[in-house]
Homo-oligomer: 208 residues x 2
């Protein structure tokens, strides 16, 4: 197509965004240039500033431009309870639930030997030091439900055990509001093996 | 949520993109900062440069950083055939079809008196001058199929008639490959009133 070079370059650059193909990138470029140049300027400045200044929290590895992030600094959060997640988006999802008052440790990925991602790339040396220092009472492992996520959780669980720190895995099962018939087989299988005994009932095999 | 100010600002800025909500904006910000800082830098530069340099072609109003755009300058295009469209994206769609060898005139919108968009905002003064100069043999009106698009096409048709220039409206009807049962009522109605007589057949009412 006969776009001018600068418009073409902008469309190409927009395609770097996840989930944005050629058509969406064109629509975005036209929208910004036609109707929202102020927004385009703000986005350019925001990107520039974030790329230059945002790094990782030295304590929990969350994305932040500060040395220690807001959650790690907050006196309202329990520093002895640490939830281990794979990505900053996971932190966000848990924060949105409003159900957690501890701190986090963000791995920025999961074990993936083929991609050269081992314990050190996930910052497990940092976590090890914190566990050894006796700073943490419990680790909640909220890594993904993939094979890699499970393997990562297992390794961190061993690390915790070596330091005598309790570790737990978040529960996996049928989502609240979910109809059994629409739940996939893997989730149902986890929901069955992870079943909890009801108080006052006899048998049960919750530690299956 | 407890994002750091710069990350929060980047997420907000990304929400300026059409079709991008809070969740997508967060995902984009994380992706750029975690995995594609080079892409983020390129996008920042692309936006900066486009906002500073891209304006409109003085002949056809297409988005371009040049005084006259590539299509208007191209000796391969017929300058006496001009297709009138509402947006740069429309130019793109027609170019992608490979079925057109003329030039364009981009209105950058359609008549919308309530939004203060009248003939001058659509550049019809520029088009009028070109029609008066006898530069154009035929105008193809490819404005939208909305009420406003139809009104805009009608007004430009009158302009063309006043200068004795032929004007036509692109055909609207059943899409190629489209099943009749899935075509909406409005399109079917246009397909029926716009029907064309087959060569060699008797009657027919193609000018209904």
């Amino acid at each position: 197509m006969s776009f001018s070079p600068i418009v073409k370059e902008l469309v190409e650059a927009l395609k770097a965004l996840p989930g944005v193909g050629r058509k969406s990138a064109q629509r975005m470029a036209f929208h910004l240039l036609e109707r929202d140049r102020e927004g385009a300027r703000r986005l350019a400045a925001g990107l520039q500033s974030a790329v230059e200044k945002v790094g990782h929290c030295q304590r929990c590895r969350m994305l932040t431009e500060e040395t220690i992030c807001g959650i790690c600094r907050s006196p309202a959060r329990d520093p002895r309870l640490v939830c281990v997640v794979e990505t900053p988006a996971d932190v966000l999802a848990i924060e949105d639930s409003g159900a957690y008052g501890g701190q986090y440790f963000v791995l920025m990925g999961h074990l993936s030997p083929l991609d050269g991602i081992g314990p050190d790339e996930l910052g497990l040396d940092v976590l090890d030091t914190r566990l050894a220092a006796g700073e943490i009472d419990e680790l909640i492992l909220a890594t993904g439900t993939t094979v890699e996520g499970d393997a990562t959780a297992e390794l961190i669980g061993e690390l915790a055990a070596a330091h005598g720190v309790a570790a737990s895995r978040i529960a996996h099962g049928v989502p609240i509001g979910g109809d059994l018939e629409y739940v996939d087989a893997g989730t149902l299988s986890r929901a069955l093996t992870g079943r909890l005994r009801l108080a006052g009932r006899p048998a049960g095999v919750e530690d299956a």
